[in-house]
């Protein structure tokens, strides 16, 4: 029996592109595609799809808000978040709100299909690469342009400790330069504004 999928994304082109892609897959039916309006929850409840693919960044609100509403009205329906980026922080939040996990739009078609099947079976997708609160503090400070001695003072730790956190940040994030950390921090902050 084919898996019934509903797509929620406020970019029409992306919605149609994903729909086109999934409709071409064996064993998957796209039963609805909407832009994240309030009435979506009622329509999803009526249609009862197996999985809802839900974009994090919806116009005027965030995808996170829709998760508990969908889960409450339609408990048999699993939610899989979609994001332009796949930061662990967002995956954690998604799971906390009741989604099975989060998939990046940079993932392959095979990864998406695998995630859909796992989500439909009720599995929680694994999350990797989480930053500790202290590492987040250091990243925020670097992004704000503080030097190591200023960061040390702000966080009441030694400069050597700041450097240690930096090294760990770069290793965890796969980034090799301070400049890269700043850019990553900026991206994270602009995504935070949407969550």
């Amino acid at each position: 029996m084919a898996l019934r999928i509903w797509i929620v994304d406020d970019h029409a082109l992306v919605r149609e592109a994903l729909g086109s892609l999934l409709a071409a897959q064996d064993g998957i039916d796209v039963v609805g595609a909407t832009s994240g309006e309030n009435q979506d929850v009622a329509r999803i409840e009526a249609e009862a799809p197996d999985v809802v693919l839900l974009d994090i960044a919806l116009a005027g609100s965030s995808g996170f808000e829709l998760i508990p509403r969908i889960r409450a009205r339609s408990p048999e329906t699993r939610v899989l978040m979609l994001s332009m980026h796949a930061e662990a922080e967002f995956a954690e939040t998604a799971i906390e709100r009741g989604a099975q996990g989060l998939v990046s739009k940079a993932a392959s078609v095979e990864e998406l299909i695998g995630a859909i099947r796992s989500a439909a079976a009720g599995a929680t997708l694994p999350v990797s690469g989480l930053l500790t609160p202290r590492e987040r503090d250091v990243l925020d400070a670097i992004t704000a342009g503080l030097r190591d001695d200023e960061i040390a003072e702000r966080l009441a730790i030694r400069v050597k400790t700041v450097d240690g956190h930096c090294q760990r940040l770069m290793r965890k994030l796969g980034i090799h330069t301070r400049a890269g950390l700043v850019a990553y921090g900026q991206r994270l902050q602009s995504q935070q504004d949407l969550a």
Partner: protein, 205 residues
């Protein structure tokens, strides 16, 4: 049949757009996940249309548009983006694009723009505004790679230049933007809208 080369770093979105264009009878002859691969494919295939997402890693859609417009006469560029700000549209026009489609638009509009541009219609006619850009093409290329968190030796390999040359570009960039460190370079470039927020740490496809 209209021949298209497609560039977008989100593999899923790229695969989906390909499926849409296939269904509309448009031939996607090649696709790429980063700007350099995209430029290479366009030069090799010389398609009717090059569909360029603005925010590709290694070389963004705007720079790819500039280079294609000036070096591949057989190909017309259509820019694809999440954002429809007047500044981005103007930048695309100045770079030589023939069309601009936002991801908010329906697939029908993308196909419509492709067909019209392929038939010879410029959907982005020139206006009197000018786009003030202080950086040279090489400096823009180096800037993007710095924002992506790459070190000078890696940048040198990617651009097929010596590390010495890369460091010169870096120094000029910092002088032009009046900063002393690469970290400040990234911050100022972002504030002035010179980067497309390419993603550090992400592998190219």
């Amino acid at each position: 049949m209209t021949r298209v080369v497609l560039g977008d770093d989100h593999a899923l979105v790229r695969a989906g757009i390909r499926a849409l264009l296939d269904a509309a009878g448009i031939d996607v002859v090649s696709e790429a996940g980063d700007g350099r691969e995209f430029l290479h494919a366009v030069r090799a295939e010389k398609p009717d249309i090059a569909l360029a997402d603005l925010s590709m890693p290694l070389l963004d859609g705007l720079e790819a548009t500039r280079q294609i417009s000036t070096t591949v006469s057989e190909t017309r560029v259509i820019v694809l983006s999440m954002y429809g700000d007047a500044e981005y549209v103007r930048g695309a026009r100045e770079a030589g694009a023939w069309g601009y489609v936002v991801k908010d638009d329906a697939a029908r509009r993308l196909i419509d723009v492709i067909e019209r541009v392929a038939a010879g219609e410029n959907c982005l006619p020139a206006d009197t505004g000018s786009f003030d850009d202080p950086l040279t093409p090489r400096e823009r290329e180096v800037l993007q790679l710095i924002v992506e968190g790459r070190k000078s030796d890696e940048i040198a390999t990617i651009m097929n230049r010596s590390v010495h040359t890369v460091r010169n570009h870096r120094a000029r960039l910092m002088r032009k933007l009046a900063v002393n460190t690469a970290a400040d370079l990234v911050r100022v470039a972002e504030e002035r809208g010179l980067t497309r927020l390419a993603a550090p740490g992400r592998k190219t496809s």
